[in-house]
Symmetry: C2
Subunit: 233 residues, 2 copies
DNA sequence: ACATTTGATATGTAGTACATAAGTACTAGT
DNA sequence: ACTAGTACTTATGTACTACATATCAAATGT
């Protein structure tokens, strides 16, 4: 249908509601005043009056900021600014069932890009204990059934992210897991690269960053191969 | 202060408001019914009654979902599900001035990881036109002043993301720009790697993926060097 | 059959009222 | 004078009502 395509190309006139405007105004206000986490905001009634809207509308906007973790409110104590919960916010919208196919594919690729880029951090931060942990995970894999292998796969790659010592990265990965899993289930057959987890650990232990990147590529190669087929252009 | 550390360790008792609960219930409801974008939801009054809350509270919850792009509402037409605006949502909380130092650092590293991992996609998707574009950007750099060089830096790396053909990745990068910029301004001196943009283009043109990864690492080396100093552990 | 008007209806906004939690001030008792 | 306990105050949380506005649907007229 031509109409369908049309409605995708030019997104509809989003009539801004007062809540939208107030949300924006509050953001600006916070920035302009360069408030920092812990600072307290005026009371609802004052804000509402200052903005010329009902307390109702103001509360809708505040409710949004509260959801993002930008403000916290306690009865009688008023409102205070807080640090937004970045990962938590992202989690709210990362539902594989709602995201469109192209974006899912994009995110799948994003994960591959991340794993290929981990090498630097891994080699500069790995410890002997980390290697041992990885070895233990990789070893368990032998002769395990399918469902266990999937769990192990997650554990192994999860551990890699953990080694980077980058907590945001790690949580980001956990967040992407369901999406990754969802895309993988769409594949026809289980994909296994030539390079196994045990190989990767060995490289991490005795090899170089370059070796690891090549190894990781081989490990992920089945996924990369799927990509090169012209997917959804 | 001991008190400060304490309040960081055990996060405060978040007293859930009705809006919080209703937001969650609506999410569950949408999932359970496996609604898809385009499907229409019951009217506010019906939902409010079914949930046993005032229309006010329900609207606060809906306002949140609207912000995330999960639902759209038109007067009289009722509410319809929509695809959440992932990047737009993330943008809302990625304000360098509010994010804490550790997370900023984490995100900075995330960007480095991404750039190191781009090679595969770049080499499988680059076109001759892309190379020409990159060359043009890299060439402009010669003999330019500082502010222009920064803009050019952004343009070059932005173009790299663009070549991947991954729109989500590209927008993600744009989103991270202010953060990257912010962290860089905290550095003492301008950082320049041994490998220039022109070198990178040349590798992309005639070299291999491995060459490119090594080149990119050298290009980003000043940043990586900063990391290896034990930062904020 | 088509254009116009009229009416119905769901969302958007405003305003009032009251419950509840949490400071604050005041009182009483040792 | 100091502590404990009480009463008061106040800002947020929730509910309800009322009305404006946009838009779909039906009725009406040509």
């Amino acid at each position: 249908m031509a109409n369908n395509e049309l409605s995708k190309d030019l997104d509809p006139i989003e009539s801004f509601t007062m809540a939208d405007v107030v949300e924006l105004k509050l953001r600006e206000y916070i920035k302009r005043k360069s408030f920092k986490p812990g600072d307290s905001l005026p009371k609802e009634l004052e804000l509402a009056e200052a903005l010329g809207v009902s307390r109702n509308v103001l509360r809708e906007a505040l409710s949004r900021l509260r959801m993002l973790g930008m403000v916290e409110t306690r009865k009688r104590r008023g409102m205070v600014l807080a640090r937004p919960d970045i990962l938590g916010t992202m989690e709210r919208v990362l539902d594989p069932l709602i995201i469109d196919k192209d974006t899912l594919q994009d995110i799948f690729e994003l994960r591959l890009v991340l794993e290929m880029g981990l090498a630097e951090l891994l080699f500069s931060r790995k410890t002997e204990q980390d290697i041992k942990d990885l070895e233990a995970i990789a070893k368990k894999e032998n002769g395990a059934d399918k469902t266990f292998r999937i769990k192990n796969e997650i554990a192994f790659h999860g551990k890699l992210y953990e080694i980077t010592g980058n907590d945001t990265l790690k949580r980001f990965q956990i967040m992407l897991l369901p999406i990754f899993g969802y895309v993988v289930t769409l594949e026809d057959q289980p994909t296994r690269g030539k390079v196994t987890h045990q190989d990767l650990v060995e490289i991490l232990k005795t090899g170089t960053k370059e070796d690891f990147r090549i190894g990781m590529f081989e490990h992920l190669k089945p996924h990369f191969d799927r990509l090169t087929k012209p997917s959804g252009v």
